[in-house]
Subunit: 344 residues, 4 copies
């Protein structure tokens, strides 16, 4: 298979390169750029010397149609212009930006403050939460790969909401992320000296992943809800931990919650339920495509705390994108993704 990556210098793009170079079905990876064309990629990113020394290619529509798969790992607002005309032209399209996630253009406009993708393209796009949308993904030509936060949140909450074990109308979700989620562009917010030794809340009540989570809850459980969702930056590079709080419905115990999670993911290789643990953190899954989930009910309050960890660049971006490609291309979904977490 031949794949093209648009936006290779972003962190999603670099992670796609890392993973695809060990994917046994990929014979060719080409990188496309709007600026640095002709330059050898390993001149800029010397860690790829001897791995990816080919020059960056200019983005040309005609050329793109000849790939088996095109990944777009670009800032929002770009793939909505590039991809619509490629739909149905041959390549599977997998978009890691947010452009094709929100079905309602008005929502996109409201939360992203940008012009939405054409409605026709939005209608054809399939939300790529692999464990929950596999059938649709198999037949999709354009995949809206989920955001990093929504992946961690949805995988841990959907089974509990779907089976009416928790009260979905009062969800509080507190998310913590490493800094790589903010991308490769240097800003004051990602400047080492102001980020190190600092835990901070940002975009309070305004994160564009809020409508994405609400839409997916509605899609997969038929429950409409408004969530409270906050995002924090912690001084590490990779990893997301989400702590979600919910009232447990009457008669429901911790065991019901754990069972629902275990049953839902019994045959899912990338979701693991961790039952006993003193300390549960993001290093559980570092560098891997796992989403690990831990749940506990506080008998004092009858509220559940549901904790979920992913590597934001793998299961939260490039890994899930490749998992979707595997599904679309009829490969085992773990192909190229059997990575063991680094832990240390």
């Amino acid at each position: 298979m031949k794949v093209g990556i648009i936006g290779a210098t972003g962190y999603g793009g670099l992670e796609l390169i890392r993973l695809l170079h060990n994917h046994p079905e990929i014979e060719n990876i080409d990188l496309f750029t709007s600026s640095d064309e002709g330059n050898n990629f390993s001149n800029k990113y010397t860690h790829l010397l001897n791995i990816h020394d080919e020059p960056l290619l200019k983005i040309e529509h005609a050329k793109l149609a000849h790939y088996d798969v095109i990944f777009t790992s670009t800032p929002s607002g770009i793939s909505r212009e590039l991809l619509p005309s490629l739909i149905g032209k041959g390549p599977k399209l997998i978009d890691l930006s947010g452009d094709f996630r929100l079905k309602d253009p008005a929502q996109y406009e409201h939360w992203y403050k940008k012009t939405p993708a054409p409605t026709q393209a939005l209608e054809k796009s399939v939300y790529g939460l692999t464990e929950w949308n596999r059938k649709a993904i198999e037949h999709a030509t354009i995949i809206a790969n989920p955001g990093c936060y929504p992946t961690a949140v949805l995988l841990s909450l959907l089974p509990l909401i779907k089976e009416n074990l928790i009260d979905a109308t009062q969800l509080i979700i507190d998310a913590k992320s490493g800094i790589s989620g903010a991308g490769n562009k240097p800003t004051q917010m990602t400047h080492f000296s102001e980020t190190n030794e600092n835990t901070a809340i940002y975009k309070l009540h305004q994160h564009q992943h809020i409508p994405e989570i609400e839409q997916a809850i509605e899609t997969f459980t038929n429950q409409s809800t408004l969530i409270t969702f906050t995002t924090h930056l912690v001084p590490m590079t990779r990893g997301i931990l989400t702590t979600s709080y919910a009232h447990v419905n009457e008669g429901i115990t911790e065991k019901h919650l754990t069972n629902a999670l275990q049953d839902t993911y019994a045959n899912q290789p990338f979701v693991r339920i961790i039952e006993q643990t003193d300390k549960f953190g993001t290093n559980q899954v570092y560098g891997s495509n796992f989403c690990d989930i831990h749940v506990k009910v506080d008998p004092r309050t009858n509220r559940a705390t549901i904790v979920s960890v992913i590597d934001n660049l793998v299961k939260g971006a490039a890994g899930q994108a490749i998992q979707n490609m595997n599904v679309q291309c009829n490969l085992d979904q773990t192909t190229g993704l059997s990575l063991v977490p680094l832990f240390i």
Copy 2:
């Protein structure tokens, strides 16, 4: 004034030394130990060379009575044996461990899994949340200095609960702490390679600061509540950020909340209300005695998010202890504590 510190090698003790050495009213600081007696303290902690070169002293009851102030910064279970017999013998007593915080011995036993302090001593102890208990502190001989998490939580929530602006029966509090809160004893949980690049939840629903927060809410607002409170470790040394979630009562707006905070702390030098901010984090207060608070109401859900940051070793431990000493000793409460945050 002459002060004695018991437990000087712990991080609370080291921070007391750092701050008291620049306190203009302190002429003498003696350090007491149960193990290293006779050793020069700056042999062990070379950063104190030329600052505190005196030998560690043996803990002897008779000697302790001659100090103006005794600080105990020990693991829980020690000061409850040391301090009761010193009550009323002369020195002001300020305990940084949890031994004198919970008025109900059964609660202490339940949450700390240890024998509680004698009831008589518990009855005399005064909870040292300076901004909320000043009058009692002025006349106290034994102060139970608040825990780090409760300090951040209570300062940000008490004004809102007291004035009935938020629903105190449904509080969700998500706390994030730097690793120094775990003390100076090496454990797997504080081992660099398993702590760095890792955000983790620990002691889920079982942290001993839960009853302390609930007791203080009841004491200062007359409202009884069971909270959901979780604690996370983030890879930094100092700092606590707490994110609290509450329903806003009918007719109440963000402005009411902000005003209540500003009015409560109008004359309090160490509590600052931050109104506008894109990113609000622990480096705001690094190394200083400030508690900074930011509040926002989400109009979609009518829930408030209340964020609070402190330096866990200063306002969360040694700084507040000295603030209490200042109040007890009739000094301006800022004496020796006018530290500007490091920020970077």
Copy 3:
């Protein structure tokens, strides 16, 4: 192939597990322990759930003989007792501790302050610096896998010394390491709060890797030298950067040095020479088996600065051990090791 790992809970052991689980020729990995026998490994290390759930096995001599390869990743002083009687009994033996590296027992005793391995076993052991000792490794039954620091130092200096391009009698080597090199045992030296935001020098002039480097220089270049070698801990988990300083011999230019490195490693997949770079660091090789080298001659002083980076747990330990196993077992040396660096 069936492999056994003794010392699986150490960081070298965990990294062997990470890499061997994706090695296509390994069908079985068994873990041996002296303490936790019978426990499921993934109970202790939950990041290995569904990957390595088998119980830890008791170390029994008879059983060990049935493996194709035995790795010992133990503190020094243990494998010297375990391995000698297994030599020639079947399994290839690869020791990641320092017990079989120093040929002179007196040197071991002096630097390790422990009893050396039996002389006969020492004589049979082969130093596993793969790129420099391949022929001997192919026929070895016991491999002394190199130390992390020596790997980075030797790969960068040996070509220059061997071809007489630099003055080997005046070598100054300044090494910086992440904390994982200190292993998994919690100590004050690896306690997060005293390690974070701290760069420190340790074991000044006394590191046991000094005689290992000197011995290898003599072995591979026939030059006897006493080096100055210092080691520093920097607040990160993985990575070693060594900065070496040497006088350039008369008539020798930077180009000669670069050429010598490039020629030596022209056919070596894991050693890369980086020619142009503004900033050259350990993230170049994070999580991979690469050793990257950069050299520059200062025309003002005619001294060369030679910089080398590795991941201490991969090329500096488990990765090189597997590379040696591949060579011993007649596999392509990159089998299971084609890892792309994480970079971010």
Copy 4:
């Protein structure tokens, strides 16, 4: 005393504000800017709320002349235009940029790639290495405050060179710095995700502090030398550790070196000689104005390793600037600078 700070938003400027706000002789601090004039400083830097709420002032020559002291903490190339016309007009001038350090304009041009300051101004400037140039500083109107690296290097090496204990012609100096030394401007080099978990060498053989160190060695010891000096970035915010290597002259022992350091700094409150230590690092001096020095001779090679640590923003910038101000203004040099290191 009234002081003005030009370049307040840089990290040198922020640190001046932190320290001067607790300086007992300063009654007024004004901040000057070329861009944000009129804005309240604590709007931008909320950690200064209630501490420094005054608006930023426009840089006007006439106004500047009325201050007792002007600090310039600007990028290189700015103070050389601002300060010359203020010389002799009233205020003491203390420049934290490199513009007035190199006496030879050609050297400045070569290393800084910029137009040098006017020769007359250069001639009047006094190098502000307080412990070595006190007499000149007392009478100076313009101080060239030393660079961060030179401060750590010179304080540790000058006594040994001056007394001919080490061979100054073969100095190798390996320096490691936290990221705050790179200033507050976001760049790829200071971007968290590429800086965290990374130790890197940069500006190899080209750092502008090289000629500054060489010039100071010549000034204070009359020895002319060309040094090898390299700089590394380590993933922490504050702190510099320099490891210097030198041959010990004949007949000289470790004791001679230690004595020379102790004698030189016997009456210097900010330089401490640490004799015994297992691990010697930058947290020794965090947040304080100390420079701590440790020296050891390796009997195998007769080479000395000289290690020096400072907080780059304090003794390496703002702290030393205030120390110089104290000397110029006839105050005790420790006024406002008796900070105890944070250590944790």
